[in-house]
């Protein structure tokens, strides 16, 4: 199997705070990989480093063969990204934003592709509304669309189901599962462990910026263990250590 994402001793320090501490992990092509951890564990910083939004203070990482430090724009041109906080530009309409994304990413036939997504995520009635006037859920749908509309080989998503109602969550989980079946890779960060257990093939647990564990979900379930219980025992042990 091809490795599409690899981090070696990746670290990030903000002043005196060690947000991520020498994390090494790799993700294979076709995986739906979950980066798990409590709030403030460094998940978002990891995603920001892996997508070239933040420079690591130590270590290296390659995404689809591109060094994230040397060519951050190159990384972002190859992947799809949904940041933690949805931020479509205030004064473009949803459709105009997708046209903007298409112009920047040079995506052909944007009208047809966008219409498919508007129908699929059920927000066609909002396509000509300014982004600032959209609800959080609709903005999340829009951000989801911009991340997948060019069908990237790898998508990195920070909290994929946040702001979605249960029906939309189900639809999105189904979409993600189907996406990796096509040979594409998805890297998500979440603290919703039940979702991770349900959809992820591999996972890593991060706590206080340190990697506690990484491996396939099947190894756990094969032993009759559940991800939430495993996660809690590991994090609590580390917390008391």
């Amino acid at each position: 199997m091809t490795i599409v994402l690899e981090a070696r001793n990746l670290s990030k320090t903000y002043g005196d705070v060690q947000a991520v501490n020498t994390v090494s992990l790799s993700v294979e092509e076709g995986a739906l990989f979950g980066l798990l951890g409590p709030n403030g564990s460094g998940k978002t910083t990891m995603i920001r480093m892996l997508t070239g939004q933040t420079r690591p203070t130590g270590g290296t990482a390659t995404v689809l063969g591109v060094d994230v430090t040397k060519d951050p724009v190159g990384v972002r041109s190859r992947v799809g990204i949904i940041p933690e906080q949805e931020t479509p530009p205030s004064f473009l309409t949803a459709m105009e934003y997708l046209r903007f994304v298409a112009a920047v990413r040079k995506i052909p036939d944007i009208e047809t592709k966008a219409d498919w997504w508007f129908d699929f995520l059920d927000f066609a009635d909002k396509k000509n509304v300014l982004c600032k006037d959209l609800s959080r859920g609709t903005r999340q749908k829009l951000m989801f669309t911009q991340a997948f509309i060019h069908e990237p080989a790898l998508a990195l998503i920070d909290e994929p189901l946040i702001n979605f109602d249960p029906i939309m969550q189900d639809l999105v989980k189904e979409y993600l599962a189907g996406y990796v079946k096509k040979g594409k890779t998805i890297f998500i960060s979440t603290h919703i462990l039940e979702v991770a257990e349900e959809i992820c093939s591999g996972f890593a647990i991060l706590h206080k910026g340190t990697l506690l564990h990484t491996g396939p979900v099947a190894d756990l379930t094969g032993r009759g263990e559940h991800l939430p219980a495993f996660f809690l025992s590991l994090v609590r042990k580390d917390h008391h250590a």
Binding site: Q53, G80, P89, A103, V104, N128, A147
Partner: protein, 468 residues
């Protein structure tokens, strides 16, 4: 009232201090104090060429403009209103989670801005002058009076903008009517009295001859403007779902000759739909420049021949450079973080939009040159104004990247900006005073401007994009 006011003050302080550290931000008023203190020692020298009355005129005009700019900064443009009262996680947003009326929050916000910027800008400057007054032969009483009247001038600028912006939010024709009435009133006063109406500016009258009646009159005008602004305040309804036709694609096609058509089209839409193109042009460009022209015109006899036009061209250039803040105010790097766009590309895009906006100062300087009968020097004046503007914006881009609105309060950044731009202003003012055509030499500023832009791209690509 007090709790909310206190919390808003703390919030404003923390917004600034967390960005560049409490000490660095706390030094900002100290620097203003230092500038005023040292500048005061130049007063005796200036008085040899400028009568004292005209010096106070310049000071009052500057404070009026400061008030206009502080007031305009937070309140102009629909989206800025919206951001401050709708989506931002500030106390001003608390009407939705606390049992408080929006007009009550707005009045607290206005008072907070007044007090906060008084301590940040007005008081340090006044104190600098007061403490220097014994050394320059100025009595303490007149120094204190100056502090009072400068404060009033600042408040006139601030509350005039609050008033006009709330009128603007309610009815644009009403705004134009009011402005027309003010201009007509000023012209009428000039005709009837045969005096420049600027001399009837209440704080200036008060400074020339203190009377309690004048003081109460000034305060009453301020109270009326504040009161009407608060009464007229009408927060926008957030979440209205108006449909818009596609403006992006045709605009991008029209701007395809530019280096980054999608970025330029987005900026143009931001400026248009936010209402800030008209609002900023009016309140952050034309109004301050009209005020400056109004007051500067009184000083014509004390400048060398044609000097007034070139002083005005340089001032226009400096103010025009702040148009960079118009195109960066709605954007941080956030919306681009998920796209293959580098910070340097974004800076280049913003500078492209800035370049298009420079049509405004060019026209403005040309109109002033024509109206003042200096058409022969129209070209050197326009060249000088634009050269200063492009140079100043290049310095700003190098120092602040995409966050000029925020980093201006970093004392190191502001000091460096003032030095780098100040040197150029002094050099080219002297050149233009020596011979108006020497102003054409300002074209040479294209070289350092280009250098600063290249440096800005490298510098801001190398640091983590700021989230403000």
């Amino acid at each position: 009232m007090l709790e909310l006011f206190h919390a808003m003050m703390k919030e404003e302080w923390r917004i600034h201090s967390t960005m560049f550290g409490s000490l660095s931000f706390a030094l900002f008023p100290v620097m203003i104090f230092g500038i005023a203190f040292m500048g005061a020692f130049l007063v005796p020298l200036m008085q040899t060429t400028l009568p004292a009355g005209n010096l106070t005129l310049i000071l009052h005009a500057s404070y009026l403009m400061l008030g206009i700019m502080v007031g305009g900064f937070g309140l102009l443009g629909n989206e800025v209103m919206n951001r401050r009262f709708g989506q931002a996680s500030l106390l001003a947003y608390s009407a939705r989670s606390l049992p408080l009326k929006e007009s009550f929050i707005f009045s607290n916000f206005v008072v907070k801005d007044t007090v906060y910027y008084f301590f940040l800008w007005v008081l340090p400057f006044g104190l600098g002058y007061i403490i220097a007054s014994p050394f320059i032969g100025v009595s303490l009483a007149s120094a204190l009076l100056l502090l009072l009247t400068l404060t009033l001038a600042f408040l006139f600028g601030l509350c005039a903008v609050f008033f006009l912006s709330t009128v603007y939010a309610r009815s644009r024709p009403a705004l134009w009517l009011i402005l027309l009435a003010v201009v007509a009133g000023g012209a009428g006063l000039a005709v009837v009295t045969g005096t420049n109406p600027a001399l009837f500016f209440p704080p200036l009258l008060l400074n020339h001859a203190f009377t309690w009646t004048n003081l109460i009159g000034s305060c009453a005008i301020l109270a009326i403007l504040f009161g009407v602004a608060i009464a007229l305040f009408n927060p926008e309804s957030v979440g209205s779902e108006k449909n818009y036709r596609n403006a992006f694609s045709p605009l991008m096609a029209r701007l395809s000759f530019l280096p980054n058509p999608p970025l330029a089209a987005k900026d143009a839409i931001d400026l248009y739909r936010s209402g800030s193109l008209i609002g900023q042009t009016l309140f952050s460009f034309i109004l301050p420049l009209a005020v400056i022209w109004f007051f500067l015109s009184l000083l014509g006899p004390y400048f060398p021949p044609h000097g007034l036009l070139f002083i005005f061209a340089i001032t226009t250039g400096v103010i025009a450079s702040t148009m960079y803040t118009w195109v960066t105010m709605f954007d941080n790097f956030g919306p681009y973080a998920c796209l293959p766009v580098a910070v340097s590309t974004l800076i280049a895009g913003k500078l492209t939009t800035f370049t298009i906006l420079q049509l405004l100062p060019a026209i403005f300087i040309a109109v002033v040159a024509i109206l003042s009968g200096e058409i022969a020097f129209l070209v050197p004046a326009v060249v000088l104004g634009l050269a200063v503007s492009f140079y100043a914006v290049a310095v700003m881009a190098w120092l602040c990247g995409l966050s000029p609105n925020v980093l201006v309060y970093d004392v190191k950044v502001l000091a460096l900006y003032l030095i780098l731009v100040g040197i150029v202003i002094v050099l080219f003012t002297a050149a233009a005073f020596a011979n108006p055509y020497f102003a054409l030499a300002s074209l040479i500023l294209a070289v350092p401007a280009w250098w600063f832009v290249q440096k800005a791209k490298v510098r801001w690509d190398a640091v983590d994009p700021a989230g403000f």
